[in-house]
């Protein structure tokens, strides 16, 4: 049983956490890739906060890193969209490296990007590797709901709610939310520019797939969130007046041919003092039933789940695999290579 060898692809905030957590679970980092000149050339141990070198230099030459190393898996934390991620995924797969990624759309991209997903699926099968989009959604927005649904006799609608704090994600995310608009400005812009894709779609699609439901219709709309009092936005270092937008709610509705509905609300806003990330699920049916996670460490638990998933990805059959198809995620009490089975050991 050999240790798992990994490449960390993308050394932003997520990649740095992924590097630390995976090394602490017995993974050997054999390569690190980042295009940012601020990261390239640095030692991974330094970037990941180990306080000692891991003797892996961050490189901006992905092909070289992938070709020179016999890695089992790449942990990719770069883009949120599948199309932008495609060249990175392709490069890893062609080098015989399994892929696990934070890319939000990758969780379940069969509807939003069917051609790209099919290409990746074929490529992965050709090279005998697996590609999985995982991270925060895996348990919190998908599998815990699939499991929890097992306590229902009938289901009319599955309702999901997630909130995150814009101020946790820096100025880029804050700018992109156009904070401080009037309600009219917000609605006008939404109408003119079209609404952003909500990644809750992928979560609800994963749940639907896990329950064997077929999708009839998906719709999405965005509503403004305002505050009754003036609110300070740390990321932009500015005060947002009362009544102006402090964020938005992206609302997704899915109808299935089986009659079961799925509804998701993803709230991203500047938090008031004391607010924390929450995930809330309820299922209306027989009986009505409720599940919630308070004080969620959204970003950190994106990484903890990714790392605990590594053995499942290595063990999986080749192809594009979604998290509803993997074994039940769980805590790894032992180094990750203890969980690699015969299929994972003999690719």
């Amino acid at each position: 049983m050999n240790e798992i060898k990994a490449i960390i692809y993308g050394l932003g905030q997520m990649g740095r956490i992924l590097a630390r957590l995976s090394v602490e679970k017995g993974v050997i980092p054999v390569g690190a890739i980042d295009m940012n000149p601020a990261a390239a050339g640095k030692d991974l141990g330094e970037l990941a906060g180990f306080g000692y070198p891991l003797n892996v230099k961050v490189s901006d030459n992905a092909d070289e890193v992938l070709f020179q190393n016999e890695a089992d898996i790449a942990l990719i934390a770069v883009f949120a969209e599948l199309d932008r991620s495609f060249p990175l995924f392709e490069r890893c797969i062609e080098n015989g490296v399994n892929v696990i990624t934070t890319c939000d759309e990758s969780l379940f991209p069969w509807t939003t990007s069917p051609e790209t997903t099919a290409r990746l699926d074929k490529l992965a099968k050709q090279h005998g590797v697996t590609i999985v989009g995982a991270g925060f959604q895996d348990t919190f927005l998908a599998n815990q709901v699939i499991l929890f649904s097992g306590a229902s006799h009938t289901i009319e609608i599955i309702n999901g709610y997630q909130s995150y704090n814009i101020d946790d994600y820096g100025p880029v995310v804050a700018e992109w939310h156009n904070l401080g608009e009037t309600l009219d400005e917000f609605r006008k812009r939404e109408q003119e520019e079209g609404t952003d894709l909500s990644y809750f779609i992928m979560s609800l699609e994963t749940i639907a797939a896990g329950l064997g439901l077929t999708i009839k219709n998906i719709s999405q709309r965005t509503e403004p969130v305002t505050s009754e009092t003036e609110l300070y936005c740390k990321s932009l270092d500015k005060k947002i007046p009362a009544g102006r937008t402090i964020g938005r709610t992206q609302i997704t509705d899915i109808d299935t041919w089986q009659g079961i509905k799925l509804h998701g609300e993803e709230v991203s806003k500047v938090y008031m003092e004391g607010e924390t990330d929450e995930v809330i699920w309820s299922i209306k049916g027989e009986p009505d039933t409720f599940l919630r996670n308070d004080r969620v460490a959204t970003r950190f638990q994106t990484c903890t789940q990714m790392v605990n998933r590594i053995p499942d990805v290595i063990n999986s059959e080749p192809g594009y695999v979604t998290v509803n198809e993997l074994p039940m995620l769980r805590y790894r009490a032992y180094p990750l290579h203890f969980y690699v089975n015969e299929r994972g050991r003999n690719p």
Copy 2:
């Protein structure tokens, strides 16, 4: 793909719900067993509230029902303890019938009743059938915690809390709680009679097994619960004075050789107006993380989970199988026999 044929064994409140839910999911009831003269001879459809006969008469002759029918599975809701349940389980297994049971101890009886469990395991393997203890604990007190632990990087302690209302379970359960004692009376009785086995032990052991942890020590104690105001107990039709016991908290602590601790608190008490059943889990570690189910339909969701589990039991390898070893439970959108695979079809 043939319909699943089931025997309902025990037609108390649980058995009647199990009968209805399983029939509504396409199961064919081929037999019904109850020793109670009030049930024996009645039609299952009448007892289960269908309003029309199912043409299955409840019999008090278990051997006859089991021998005369080619059932796939028995749904057993009779006793809470494994030793008392053993003769019922044995009878089903010897007739080649898979068993799923509400019996609380059966969830994970390898520590509390190792010899009986090993006998059942061997017997089930001899007859090519599977026995599973399932029900409320399955998701709420075991598998959702195993899954949820996958969002943790390190774990110090897993804390569980469950509450139920004594008044939901009738006078037997209320009597058995010795409601209305002073704190001294409660403690004296606990000391003299010894404390009852808490079924939270089985839940915590299932979680430990699911995480691959080995148990070093299990301890259990019971604390009184009192009310600051007078409280009316419906089951006993009496008022409990302020300061007297309205229930108890059974506290279980498990240490593992891996250093991870498990702690469970099971509160059974007479509820005040507005209180509902709750399940709360928290994991202390990196990070601290939280999961809760409000307004739980404890008894009903015992049955919903049992019924949704039927295909997993039929599909499973033979032997004594605990719920941490089964596939992830989920809602069944289709009749249950659609989920039976090759192994289930060719026993």
